[in-house]
Subunit: 899 residues, 2 copies
């Protein structure tokens, strides 16, 4: 058995050739060969001009990390024979003193990680082969320039010697010799530089520069694999949700030179315009240059096509004019690749002495706007189906289109970053409290509400502000959730900031900002910027509508919005919401003019006193519902009864307490006592939800009355028949729902008798506690619908308060405990199992029960996919996430269909 | 179908006869007939002298409440024919003007509810039958006295007219006629009183007293059913866990009269002494009296036996002397009943004109001490088996034996009540803070620590106090849990109390107590008493040890204790604990001398700073473990790593903050900033448990080192091999446990190398989050044991903070949402399902995994039964609950065996 295992191991194929006798890979092998390797192989199969080479698989990377940074034994033979195949193809020899083969060693992960991993070029040069290269190319200057570049790159990437050491040598040399530009140096100069480099390396590194080309090769291969775990790569993966275990492939490829003469060049091109999606061949190139020169930005690249040269107003010749034949060939290759891959391509090429070489092709990154246009155009051009077009757009990126964004060309003075809690950008003056925010906003000022954290008391200020910035709290903190709901940009948990409320100061390290100072926040990136910044307004194109229409054709999940105000409801409908899935009635309680009646109710020490105060609130709450029903026509509206603990409505600071005491005509100290009495150790697990309704039945009675009277009034006014869905929060047992449902039914009966009519309504519950999920078969017997409150369900299932999770969230993600923040994307294994249990048990007892989700997850694509899989009826999310949800729901259905 | 239903309904038997031609019930029908009815029937079957009658079933009560307080239609016929049977048996006629049948109407629930429900005696008297009774008995005075008693009782019970109205009439009459005692009144007087009563009733009630005996009968039956829902009955049921839906039966029985002449008497007796369990016939009686006279306490009852007369030093004749034949018969009946029921009986009897009538028998209430003695004696007498003896003791009542209790004869000035959070009673002076408590205690003073709520900072004060009183928090609040663990009496959540810390005042309504005033708390009843009260010390008898030994023979569950100090561990062992199931290391952190090092660690802003402070804590923590291991010999000790959020260790009040700042030599304002930074919205769901261990690995490393070094030292000193079980709290995923386990294993390796030896230890986890239960198969792959932390699991499953639950707990119990407080008795349906899932999944992946429970439920009998059913290996509870747990575990096993 052991022997077979060994044999099997021996048989593992670690290396795939391309461009020579055999091309062994293709584009479908991206997981094994990485994106670059798979596409190089694919291009070879298409008979496109690709320098020959081979790919060492991502499995080697995995093996490398599993075996203490050692490469598999059998790799040697496989690499040697692959080198041999390159030698045979190009007719040169690795390390030869006559006709040396030079290669590049490049990373290539499954998913592009531009600039994050290491690369070594010009490999194979040493003191001997450099002479051969000089002779062969007839250009000693080129040869020694290449050699010094190689030494510098190799020393940095493989030996860990810092770049600047070599740059200093070059700089000193230029000064000593009165040179200004690199092009001023001749071959002798570069030769001198090379020996300086080697001396310095010996000093820094303790060993001479390796002359053995095989040592160079293996050192570089190991270094590229090693770069998978460098810090910037790790950070990039975390930001882009790329799993650690994917690993990178390594591509070894014969060098071609765009810097050999003026008939050589190097460039990048897109088959369509990546900013707007227009169908135009678009790109840049440099004559007599290597790829790194394009990146370095020392010389200004030229346009590839005449059209874009004219558009950009450039006077430098286009490739179309300069090398018309090569241009034609490149254009043909590009068209070929686009229709072959059925996607806009981003290609890299080199022209060596008039001959075109393709170095890379991949799907081009593009703005969301371009992505949508390209997808829609591709459908029109018959290249892809509607299904494919819908599947191609990353739903999360739609956010970019729906909010103002920072102008790409703006200069930014970034002073700190926080969590990108609600997308969009805004500039305004710093304000430290909600009342001030409201006042300044009513004076026409733009303000950024800046707080340690926000609470429901701050809602009016958040509404008045153009953006919200907090120093505490995670992606689902109060500030984040409310801001997303309102479509306000928000940065939360900016831990580097310190707010000094007393002195109206914001302190960031050594910087100090005062109230009134202007800052800009970018809620999509989390950047906090000093001063005002130029913005771009959102624009929704016809292509966007077209794509969303197609998406709607695929999805089964309905999409509703979480909204309570007329304005939010209007936004939601404009984005295509098919109802309201969560109207948080408590938000209505905070509005000016009623908060004091609410407080009066809370502070009353008898049922009678509470009822008196509730009578004042009733007409206002009724008006709220009338407004909401009016906007929503006869679409379903789910109204949640009062949920938060009562102390959330009471003032907290001494100043506010004094003000409230005065307003209510009570004594400050007795108000304080009551506030103390109501305070809770863990408000999240406290006296809230249906527990309030059961202990103070007069509250749900008032709310039910407001809802039903609003229905009656709308009906009398317009004939519309509103069918409210009344939702009872925080239920853990059938009995709780039953008690509250009885209250609601009693009020309904009263109103039916008063008005001699029949009300249409349903009563259901949130499933947001583990126990509710477990007891869902019993609960379903008295519920018309379940709405999964996945915020609270995640909190209780994990035992994590989302407001307090920021302290360990990062550590948890970096330690692989969380793949993603479970408050952003649903935890399928834990929370998901409870939801599945509830769906199954709920439907088993009540097969007509309506099932939806109204937590923050309702706007998260991967969570929506889960909802589609378990066949919920709808998701509900912030108004601004509605398009995201529509698209995600369509993609989920397509995925399920194609499984 | 409908017809069949109707027929079926018609066939329901609502009424069961006894004592006449047929006796239709027996003692096994207690649920249907209530305790009294079932036992009356049983006595009839034993041919004992029981006045004939019938029982209306508890199902009628249920039906009565389900049908808007209407009795079933078919009941009429059944009652009428049952009355007929009584008439036939006694040879009189209901309502007859010659020979009238008089009956009593008494309640009789499944479980005895003494004095809570209503009774009507002498029913069947009216202006005509009273004359017949006078004639038949030859005693007009007796007849009219009975009539006026009936009017008074009926008016009160059935018509709702208050007692005092009738008492006033009688009082006035006596004054007007210069009478002192009731016995001064003659038949004419009672006749007058009767007419005054009737007049007054007409005035109060608006209708005359009903003369129709059938109206009297049905009114009384309805009233007794109605009394099931009176307030005192509801309260009693709540206190005694009697479900509302049980209902009561109604017993209608021919009257017998103990007040007919001096050859008549009435009394109660116990077959053994109910206070100490001694085998002696014990009871009291009154000559020429009705049952209510015994209760009223106007005359001093006489002893039944000569022995007890002599013991009590009474000069009144015993029944044994007074009516030797009746006594002999009664004694025979009593012996008969005791051996028939195989339990000590509490019997009621009446002697009418020298003839003995049995009115009731039931298992006698007894003190726990008596219960144990009786059970052990019964085994010795061969009456019952060991199994039955073990099954008969209510485990919860063992607590009485283990703590001081208030002397039964003490006069109590009860000023308020709270939750009976930890049993036992204590008197001491009021102290409002922990430091003061410690200081006074060290001066030899007894103090009651009186706080709004307690926190871990108060532990030293709680230890120093003889009792703890809080105005907030439930049965599992911090104060309650810690007090039970320490064996200190505690009352929590005494909401009527207000504490004014500033002025050192405790305010209860209009009363004010200052620091230093003496109060007494009874943690078994929840009573708060003004002043000092006489106490009784606990004493553990040989019978107790015998019973516990028998219990140990039955149980499979091991019983461990939750303990961290040497003293607690010693108490636990003395009560028979077989190990420690939970050593909360954080309790050790609060001790004087180390709390400042802990704070230094928390306030350090670098890993280095933390490590420095941890080095100071290490030797102290190591010493703790050495002490603990020493006491526990080689019994298993489960040590939980640091669990609470760090802010719990920081000071909260300005005064404490200043003191700590001074002690640590830091600046007050920066200390405050750090405290603010660390504060959490929901600490229960915050940065605690393994989240601390993962973010600050140096903490578990220090703790692991302290544990292992203690093992090494114990081993070197005494050769004992301690096998610590290291427990990781608040795990939600396999990965978390894995990370912390790796840290522990690393430290173990280091110590093994340092000392050249092999450590024996296991690593396991708490299962206290719903997600952990769901993911338990994966977690079990890296865990040696699971310990169910049912406090936290209940909090998260229900989404209820036990510290905040007191505000709605009562409403929840009275509304039938909770049968019992889920923090006291495990919620089998919700929390229980999660535990069962975890047991099943855990064992499926690791069949040698050890399973235990260490939440507060580990000391609750019904929860222990659940643990036995799902075959856990052990329960762990407060040291003082260990005997309770041993007995409960035995009972559970017996129950399972007999299923």
């Amino acid at each position: 058995m052991l022997k077979i295992m060994k044999d099997f191991k021996k048989m593992t194929k670690w290396v795939y050739n391309f461009g020579g006798k055999n091309t062994e890979g293709n584009t479908s092998m991206r997981n094994l060969l990485g994106g670059k390797g798979a596409n190089l192989a694919e291009m070879c199969s298409l008979k496109l001009p690709v320098p020959p080479g081979f790919t060492i698989t991502t499995e080697v990377c995995t093996s490398y990390y599993e075996n203490n940074s050692n490469l598999p034994d059998e790799l040697d033979d496989q690499v040697n024979s692959a080198i041999k195949e390159i030698e045979d193809t190009v007719g040169s020899k690795f390390g030869s003193d006559q006709n040396p083969l030079l290669v590049s060693v490049r990373s290539g992960a499954r998913s592009s990680m531009p600039g994050m991993l290491d690369t070594v070029l010009n490999l194979g040069l040493n003191d001997i082969t450099v002479e051969a290269l000089a002779k062969k190319s007839g250009d000693a200057r080129f040869a020694y320039d290449s050699y010094r570049r190689f030494i510098q790159m190799y020393s940095n990437v493989v030996l860990g010697v810092e770049h600047h050491i070599f740059e200093d040598i070059l700089e000193d040399y230029k000064i000593d010799n009165n040179y200004t530009l690199d092009t001023d140096l001749n071959s002798g100069d570069w030769k001198n530089i090379v020996s300086h480099y080697k001396e310095e390396l010996l000093k820094e590194y303790g060993n001479p520069f390796p002359q053995d080309v095989n040592i160079q090769l293996w050192g570089s291969i190991s270094a590229v694999f090693g770069s998978w775990q460098n810090n910037r790569a790790k950070t990039y993966r975390k930001l882009n949700d790329i799993p650690d275990h994917w690993g990178t492939a390594v591509n070894v490829q014969a060098m071609v030179y765009g810097n050999l003469d003026d008939n050589s060049a190097t460039g990048v091109a897109f088959t369509r315009n990546p900013s707007n999606g227009n169908k135009e061949f678009y790109g840049e190139f440099l004559v007599n240059a290597q790829g790194e020169d394009v990146v370095a930005g020392i010389r200004t690249p030229q346009n590839i096509s005449e059209l874009s040269r004219i558009e950009s107003g450039s006077e430098d010749m286009s490739l179309e004019k300069l090398m018309p034949d090569v241009f034609k060939e490149l254009k043909k290759v590009a068209d070929n690749l686009e229709s072959h891959y059925r996607d806009m391509q981003d290609i890299e090429f080199t022209i060596q002495e008039g001959r075109l070489w393709m170095l890379q092709t991949r799907s081009g990154k593009r703005t969301t706007k371009a992505a949508i246009k390209i997808a829609v155009d591709f459908v029109k051009e018959g290249l892809i189906s509607q299904e494919e077009a819908v599947s191609r757009i990353n739903p999360n990126e739609l956010d970019q289109l729906l909010h103002p964004t920072i102008d790409k060309d703006a200069d930014l003075n970034v002073i700190a970053t926080g969590l990108p809690a609600s997308p969009g950008a805004a500039s305004g003056q710093i304000v430290f409290n909600a009342d001030e925010a409201e006042k300044l906003a009513s004076d026409g000022k733009k303000v950024i509400l800046t707080r340690i954290e926000t609470s429901p008391e701050d809602i009016h200020g958040m509404h008045a502000a153009v953006g919200i910035l907090t120093t505490r709290g995670g992606m689902t903190s109060h500030a984040a959730v409310v801001a997303r709901g309102m479509g306000r940009p928000c940065i939360s948990g900016a831990g580097a900031l310190r707010i000094d409320y007393e002195n109206n100061m914001l302190i960031i390290g050594k910087l100090t900002f005062m109230a009134g100072d202007i800052i800009t926040i970018d809620g999509s990136s989390g950047q906090i910027i000093s001063g005002e910044v130029k913005m771009k307004d959102p624009e929704l194109s016809g292509d966007f509508s077209q794509l969303m229409k197609w998406a709607d054709g695929f999805r089964k999940l309905r999409v509703r919005a979480n909204a309570e105000t007329k304005i939010d409801a209007e936004v939601a409908r404009s984005f295509g919401a098919e109802g309201i899935g969560l109207c948080r009635t408590e938000h209505m309680f905070f509005e000016e003019g009623r908060i004091n009646a609410v407080r009066e109710m809370i502070l009353a020490d008898s049922e009678e006193g509470r009822k008196k105060a509730l009578l004042k609130i009733l007409p206002m709450q009724k008006k709220d519902f009338i407004d909401l029903f009016d906007v929503m026509d006869e679409l379903p509206v789910t109204i949640r009864l009062l949920d938060p603990p009562l102390h959330e409505f009471l003032p907290h600071t001494q100043k506010d307490i004094d003000a409230v005491a005065t307003a209510l005509g009570i004594n400050t100290s007795s108000l304080k006592i009551r506030i103390d009495e109501l305070s809770e150790s863990n408000p999240m697990l406290g006296h809230r939800g249906c527990r309030l309704a059961i202990t103070y039945p007069e509250i749900p009675e008032m709310q039910a009355r407001a809802i039903f009277e609003a229905c009656v009034e709308i009906n009398k006014k317009s004939g519309k028949r509103v069918q409210p869905e009344i939702m009872v929060p925080l239920v853990a047992s059938r009995r709780e729902l039953e008690i509250v449902k009885n209250l609601i039914d009693k009020v309904a009966k009263e109103i039916e008798n008063e008005h001699k009519l029949k009300l249409d309504y349903t009563v259901g519950t949130m499933i947001e506690l583990p126990r509710a999920a477990l007891k869902s078969s019993e609960i379903a017997e008295v519920a018309d619908f379940f709405s999964f409150g996945t915020n609270d369900l995640t909190q209780t299932t994990y035992g994590i308060s989302r407001d307090d999770s920021s302290r360990f969230l990062d550590t948890y993600i970096s330690n692989g405990i969380f793949e993603r923040d479970p408050f952003v994307s649903i935890d399928r294994e834990g929370v998901g199992e409870l939801i599945e249990i509830a769906v199954e048990r709920g439907r088993s007892k009540n097969n007509s029960i309506k099932l939806g989700i109204c937590g923050e997850h309702g706007g998260d694509p991967s969570s929506i996919e889960f909802c589609a899989e378990i066949e919920l009826n709808y998701v509900s999310c912030s108004p601004y996430r509605v398009p995201v949800a529509r698209l995600s729901a369509a993609q989920a259905e397509i995925k399920i269909k194609n499984k």
